[in-house]
């Protein structure tokens, strides 16, 4: 059996001709990061540029953990991200549900205030937040880094919009069955809101993992630092050891890239969602 060859679609071909080089340019930094991570210092700094390492230097990764506090920083980043994301998603879901579905005095005013908080650039809070942490004695501690990031006005807004789209009859039915607002929330609303929770959770993980400015200000000793701050200040100590630095960069970006590959659809729908909901 022979299959007829489809005719060449020239406009599609043109699209590929444009997109392939653009994608290559966009991806070069990643390729270079990985290639450099496996080079020796001599190979990395060779003139003319040597593109491929002569052999895979896994010891760059080993050195990262041995002579640099990388393991500790990795653990710090994971712990901080887990704490912040858990808190952000739970608190935003609770409040989002209340704002969307419950009637209580002051609801609209409080929600309007939250919305306006969303409009204010977060850098405006940095100094007073830092001073507050200093008063509590929380500078250079895990709680000083994570606690101010436990709530998200954006997440509350996003999940409120999400709860609004769920059918009203469900909560009515639950009410008739004698469910109070809390049980309705946990047993009926929360399971239905899963796509919204996942979308916000993904963003929350991404922001928390990649954040630089706040941890840079609040954390200052290497054993407390997160990966982001660690990499940013690494250069001072290892000025010329580019392959080791790139090995660190590879390990730091890996979890988010893996997460992106797994949750691609949710990522993309989540962004489209925020685009349309705002």
């Amino acid at each position: 059996m022979t299959t007829a060859k489809p005719p060449v679609n020239y406009s599609h071909l043109l699209v590929h001709i444009v997109l392939i080089p653009v994608c290559i340019i966009m991806v070069i930094p990643f390729i270079w990061m990985v290639l450099t991570a496996f080079k020796t210092l001599a190979e990395a700094t060779a003139i003319p540029v040597q593109i491929f390492p002569s052999s895979l230097r896994w010891e760059n990764f080993v050195r990262l953990f041995e002579s640099f506090n990388f393991g500790t920083m990795y653990t710090n980043s994971i712990v901080a991200t887990v704490l912040r994301v858990t808190a952000q998603v739970s608190f935003a879901a609770m409040a989002g549900y209340a704002f969307a579905r419950l009637r209580f005095p002051g609801r609209d005013i409080i929600f309007a205030v939250l919305l306006s908080v969303m409009m204010i650039p977060p850098v405006l809070y940095l100094i007073p937040k830092f001073l507050l942490m200093a008063q509590l004695g929380w500078v250079n501690t895990l709680q000083g880094y994570v606690v101010p990031g436990f709530t998200s006005a954006f997440g509350t807004f996003l999940l409120r919009q999400f709860f609004k789209t769920l059918p009203e009859e469900l909560s009515e039915a639950a009410k008739l069955d004698g469910c109070g607002p809390v049980r309705t929330f946990f047993w009926i609303m929360l399971p239905l809101a899963k796509p919204g929770l996942v979308a916000f959770g993904i963003f929350s993980i991404l922001w928390s993992w990649n954040e630089l400015l706040w941890p840079l200000i609040i954390l200052n000793s290497p054993e407390k630092m997160t990966l982001s701050v660690g990499l940013a200040t690494m250069e001072g100590e290892y000025v010329s050891d580019y392959p080791v630095m790139m090995a660190g960069a590879v390990l730091a970006v890996m979890p988010m890239i893996v997460m992106f590959f797994i949750f691609q659809r949710q990522f993309i729908e989540g962004i489209a969602l925020t685009g349309s909901k705002s």
């Binding site: 966009m26 930094p29 609770m94 419950l102 850098v123 507050l132 960069a249 993309i268």
Partner: protein, 289 residues
């Protein structure tokens, strides 16, 4: 009664958190901007002194200029490239999802890591960029330490970083444009370019407006790339630092938290004004049905 009680319980964490870490700091920031900080941390009420100092500070003016250049150039660059790519992806060629993933990768990458690589690519002696340029006979500049290039090097990285987000939102917007309109335009004899400019683009303007407004707000607050690639001690810092960076330097390196608060409040006013201006201008170019 019961419902009201539980509603307050449910919103309590958010309300307390935002009050403590957003509303109270906001009020504090305004207060701090009227104070001066001594070397030993003693705080003194100085009224409008910070603001008058700010008006006479040449560093503030150059930072303001850099802020605007970075914002305009990176928003223009990233939104136009993102629109172009979204249109191409909307054609629906094979492998669209692969292209989408690759173009989106910079968005999920930790800035501290990507800046490290970019710095390495930009390196004037052994960097990939100048090596590639030397192949075609161009002697590349010192991208990050030359005062006439540093700002643009930062802008390029920012654009690289931002394209993916805009592209995804615009692609979703494009998919909302009814296919029947394209067919109608095609039947009327419009070519693909004319269809794009007279049918697709006008219908895409609400999405474009959203992308422009949000990325402008973000671009005014760009910090990571300057800190990571130019650095607080960078030779070309003056030519690249924006208001956020100046705020960071004054507040956390020099330690004048009052002056830093004044700088960041001025930046906030500028962002608010620019956003208001964008909303006011939208009726000139945004088409709502």
């Amino acid at each position: 009664m019961n419902v009201v009680f539980w509603a307050y319980v449910l919103i309590a964490p958010i309300v307390i958190g935002e009050a403590l870490f957003a509303l109270w700091p906001l009020a504090q920031s305004i207060y701090l901007s009227f104070t001066s900080w001594g070397v030993f941390g003693q705080v003194r009420w100085t009224g409008l002194e910070n603001y008058s100092q700010l008006l006479e500070d040449p560093e503030v003016y150059s930072a303001l200029r850099n802020t605007i250049v970075i914002a305009v150039a990176s928003v223009f660059g990233s939104v136009s490239i993102a629109t172009f790519l979204a249109v191409l992806l909307n054609v629906g060629v094979r492998g669209t999802s692969v292209y989408r993933v690759l173009l989106f990768l910079p968005v999920v990458t930790m800035p501290a890591a990507s800046a490290m690589v970019w710095k390495w690519l930009y390196n004037s002696d052994i960097g990939l960029l100048n090596s590639a340029l030397s192949v075609v006979g161009i002697d590349g500049p010192a991208w990050l330490t030359d005062k006439s290039y540093a700002l643009w090097s930062v802008v390029i990285v920012t654009i690289w970083n931002e394209i993916g987000i805009g592209m995804i939102i615009l692609l979703a917007g494009l998919q909302g444009v009814p296919k029947s309109l394209h067919e109608a335009a095609h039947l009327d004899g419009a070519g693909p370019v004319a269809t794009f400019f007279f049918v697709t683009l006008p219908l895409l303007t609400p999405t474009l407006f959203f992308v422009v407004v949000t990325s402008t707000i973000g671009a005014f607050q760009m910090f990571d790339a300057i800190f990571l690639m130019i650095g607080p001690e960078g030779y070309a810092l003056d030519s690249a630092q924006n208001l956020i960076f100046l705020f960071y330097k004054q507040g956390f390196i020099i330690g004048d938290k009052g002056y830093a608060a004044a700088i960041v409040l001025v930046l906030f006013l500028i962002i608010a004004l620019v956003t208001a201006l964008q909303f006011w201008l939208q009726k000139r170019w945004v088409h709502y049905e």
